[in-house]
Subunit: 113 residues, 2 copies
C-alpha cells in the first residue's frame, strides 16, 4: 500500500506540470529523441532533462540509448495507476448514490403504507 | 489554454499527496466537518488546513461554514478535468495505432499484388 501510494504520488506530481504533460502528449504520437522533445521548449537542457527524469521516475516514460542519442517513449500502461485510482473513487461515489437511492425508496415505501 | 493548464497543474499536484487523496476518498462517501476529516491524520491542524486549501484551490472540494463548523464536500465533477486530459491522451494514442494498422494493411496489400 505504501509502495503503491509513493508511486501514485510520483505519477500525479509528474503530471502537475505543463512541460511534462506536453512531453507525454508528444510521446503518445510515437517515440522521440531528447533533442526532438526539447526543441519546442525554451529551456536550458539540464532543466529539460530534469523533467524527463521526473517522468521516468514516475514510470510514465522509458528511455534507451541508441548510439549517441537517447530515445524516449511512453511507458506501456503509463496511466494505469492514475486511471485505477480514479475508478476506485467513482466506485465509492456510486456506492453512496446507491445507498441514497435505497434510502429514498424506503422512505417512499413507508409513506405509501 | 493557459488557464486550463494552470487548473490541471493544481489538480494533478493536489492529487500527488497521500493525505489529500485520503481526504478525497473520505469525501466520496459523503460530506464531513474539518475535525472529522482531520481525526485519522496525525498532523497539526494548520498543516491539515493547508492540505484542505490545496484541494479547494484545485476545485476538488468545496467548503461551507455551518455555524461554528466548517463542512467540506467533494466538488461536483471534481475529477472531470483530469479524466478529460487522460481521454485526450488515449485518443492520440489510438489514432497512432490506427495509422499503424493502415500502414500494415497497405504493406500486406502491396505484397499480395
Amino acid at each position: 500500500m505504501a509502495k503503491l501510494d509513493a508511486n501514485l504520488d510520483r505519477c500525479f506530481s509528474a503530471l502537475g506540470d505543463p512541460t511534462r504533460r506536453m512531453i507525454l502528449q508528444r510521446l503518445a504520437r510515437g517515440e522521440a529523441s531528447v533533442s526532438e522533445l526539447a526543441e519546442p521548449h525554451d529551456m536550458a537542457l539540464p532543466s529539460f532533462m530534469g523533467h524527463l527524469r521526473k517522468l521516468e521516475d514516475a514510470g510514465l516514460i522509458t528511455s534507451t540509448k541508441q548510439g549517441r542519442t537517447r530515445v524516449c517513449e511512453l511507458a506501456p500502461d503509463a496511466f494505469t495507476p492514475v486511471k485505477d485510482w480514479l475508478s476506485e473513487q467513482s466506485a465509492i461515489w456510486e456506492e453512496r448514490l446507491d445507498r441514497l437511492d435505497d434510502y429514498v425508496t424506503n422512505i417512499m415505501k413507508e409513506r405509501n403504507k
